[in-house]
């Protein structure tokens, strides 16, 4: 049993199974439909946090603009839903029926060309992943081939998040402006506003999240995953071992962006709208905090971190709304100063040795031998 626990792959697998049990069984079991929908919303942020574990934890690329990709995925889905809600019959009181309401308010008389493809559900699904990935590719190509990294990269991603927010707010007629895209009703004719739809969406979201974590685990355990760790540590050695370092960084950045986009799309579906408040600098930094609290080296930890911080945010801001931001800042400082590997790090240093001792004792009683290999230090 201890040998079983000692293998890092096995512990990760156990963690995965436990997480699946928590989000598929425990949370739906103990919460009502309203709270479950809220948990579902939190779990969409977990997609971003999982992306950050790969990008920041493994490869050491800190992006403070992951909200960009979350937002783009969310907007793609929102555009599809909005078009579906804007049938000529439903919008007959508008001066131009058949276009989204906010366009009509802004004196736009025809659907803009870039909205057209979002009539297609298949295109939308593709766009949810591809649009964030393509933008990440452009940013990554421009930055990483020029060897921009570290703090400079973080600042640039933040600037891009700010630019995108301003663009969305400024182009009100095309994007819905500061209100975002609201009043979304049906997905291919299926009403997403009912409790039962929200419950189903919760499970779809949970399954997608688990799938994404599984995929990320596969990436991390491949040679590519070890190359990412290697380049975080000694970038030059990787380069002079014959690897095009920029290509690997671009890949992991695009991968993180694509899964953030899925999170954004699931957010739109579960919450029923998308707005620029989920694109900008503040949400982007919050998402980094979710990841840091959970542990930036742990895919599973990132999900718990996201859930915990968001539960904290909801409970805390219900009673002391003005203090929440201070608490959030304090939390971030505490994580950086006291436990840089987050919850996952605490689990590894404190809970795992306890568990091992427990299993060793149990094994002793069963087999009568005290053979317990030393725990592997991380």
């Amino acid at each position: 049993m201890t040998a079983f626990l000692n293998s890092p792959k096995k512990t990760e697998l156990i963690g995965f199974v436990l997480l699946a049990a928590v989000i598929l069984l425990v949370l739906p079991g103990i919460t009502d439909a309203f709270r479950l929908n809220m948990v579902g919303k939190y779990l969409t942020y977990a997609f971003v946090a999982v992306g950050l574990v790969l990008c920041w934890g493994s490869a050491g690329i800190l992006s403070l603009g992951q909200g960009i990709f979350f937002g783009l995925g969310g907007y793609c889905m929102a555009m599809f839903l909005k078009l579906e809600a804007s049938t000529p019959e439903a919008t007959s009181i508008q001066s131009t029926p058949g276009i989204p309401d906010f366009m009509d308010w802004n004196q736009i008389t025809a659907l803009p060309a870039f909205w057209e493809p979002f009539h297609s559900f298949a295109f939308t699904i593709l766009a949810v992943v591809a649009v964030p990935a393509i933008l990440a590719f452009v940013i990554g190509f421009a930055m990483f081939t020029r060897r921009v990294g570290g703090v400079y990269f973080a600042i640039i991603t933040q600037a891009i998040a700010a630019i995108l927010t301003i663009l969305i707010i400024g182009q009100q007629g095309y994007t819905g402006g500061v209100n975002g895209i609201t009043d979304l009703r049906t997905l291919n004719g299926w009403d997403i506003r009912t409790d039962s739809a929200k419950t189903i969406l919760y499970f779809v979201n949970a399954a997608l999240l688990l799938g994404v974590i599984g995929l990320s685990m596969a990436v991390r355990s491949s040679k590519l995953g070890r190359i990412l760790v290697a380049l975080r540590d000694k970038e030059d050695r990787v380069r002079f071992s014959g690897y095009d370092v920029a290509a690997f960084k671009i890949f992991v950045f695009c991968f993180a962006a694509a899964i953030s986009g899925i999170g954004g799309a699931m957010f739109t579906l579960q919450v029923g709208f998308m707005s620029p408040t989920f694109v900008g600098i503040v949400p982007s930094i919050e998402m980094v905090i979710f990841c840091a609290v959970g542990g930036r080296h742990s895919l599973i930890g990132a999900v718990y971190g996201t859930l915990l911080v968001n539960f904290g945010k909801t409970t805390f801001s219900e009673s002391f709304p003005e203090l929440w931001l201070f608490a959030m800042g304090g939390l971030f400082i505490a994580v950086v100063m006291a436990f840089p590997n987050g919850l996952a790090g605490l689990y590894k240093s404190h809970a795992e040795p306890l568990l091992e001792r427990f299993f060793a004792k149990a094994g002793e009683r069963r087999v009568g031998s005290a053979e317990a290999p030393a725990p592997i230090a991380e």
């Binding site: 990436v219 491949s222 040679k223 590519l224 070890r226 190359i227 760790v229 290697a230 975080r232 540590d233 000694k234 030059d236 050695r237 990787v238 380069r239 002079f240 071992s241 014959g242 690897y243 095009d244 370092v245 290509a247 690997f248 890949f251």
Partner: protein
């Protein structure tokens, strides 16, 4: 008179200038296949810069570096590696967070593209090659250890191993025995003699006993220029060399 293609490496009129300061100034030298060349010279002579130029870490201001007839000055770092040039840095540069096995695996010359690395399988060929290299670099009993826990000398060997696994035709080592104990030096010299087969090696070293032990030919640099070149005995007898370097 031999043509440049006879040499494995032909460095000609190589110059690099950092804000007017010429770290390497009109440098020319030629390395034959299978040769161990040692570069010596006082601090700031441009030895490390010369290696940086060959492997592409620093870009030349002018001049040419031809490796088997291919111009290296126009290639990207990873392409130079693919052409067959390996570089060991002065300080042991290894991946501390990975095990010795993983360090060697990451250096294994297969699956070097993004998708190649995703599809890479740790098959028998990889494991055998890693075992073979590990034995060569005296680390066969440390394969599962995290690299950060190795001693300084072992880290140096590991980095040499990481290059060996790529089987480069030209291996460049920057002070491979610096900071090593006497017994480690002897082992390293033995290691270098063993890995020389089928490749050329350029070594930067200050330890004269070590240089004498391994060098086929010695190039002495001073202020970015070659001041003497030839077998160790010839260089040691050269009054210019005694004046700027060995005499100190």
């Amino acid at each position: 008179m031999s043509t440049p293609t006879d040499f494995l490496l032909a460095v000609e009129a190589l110059t690099v200038s950092f804000d007017g300061f010429k770290a390497v100034d009109d440098l020319s030298f030629y390395v034959d296949p299978g040769e161990i060349r040692v570069i010596i010279g006082p601090n700031g002579a441009g030895k490390t810069t010369a290696l940086d130029l060959i492997c592409g870490k620093t870009r030349a201001t002018s001049g040419s570096i031809k490796f088997r007839g291919k111009e290296l000055t126009e290639m990207k770092e990873h392409q130079i590696v693919h052409a067959g040039v390996g570089r060991k840095f002065q300080n042991p540069t290894i991946y501390e967070d990975l095990s010795v096995f993983e360090n060697l695996e990451v250096s294994f010359p297969r699956g070097r593209s993004v998708f190649g690395a995703l599809a890479f399988k740790r098959d028998a060929e990889v494991r055998e090659r890693i075992a073979e290299i590990a034995e060569m670099i005296f680390l066969e009993n440390h394969l599962d250890e995290r690299a950060e826990y190795l001693s300084h000398g072992q880290k140096q060997w590991l980095e040499i191993g990481m290059l060996l696994i790529q089987d480069p035709e030209l291996l460049m080592l920057d002070e491979p025995v610096a900071g090593m104990s006497v017994s480690e030096r002897i082992k390293t010299a033995e290691l270098l003699h063993r890995i020389i087969e089928g490749r050329s090696v350029i070594v930067i070293e200050h330890d004269m006993k070590f240089v004498e032990d391994i060098a086929h030919k010695v190039t002495v640099l001073h202020q970015g220029k070659v001041i003497s070149e030839g077998p160790m005995a010839h260089v040691q007898a050269d009054p210019k060399v005694v004046e700027v370097y060995l005499g100190h």
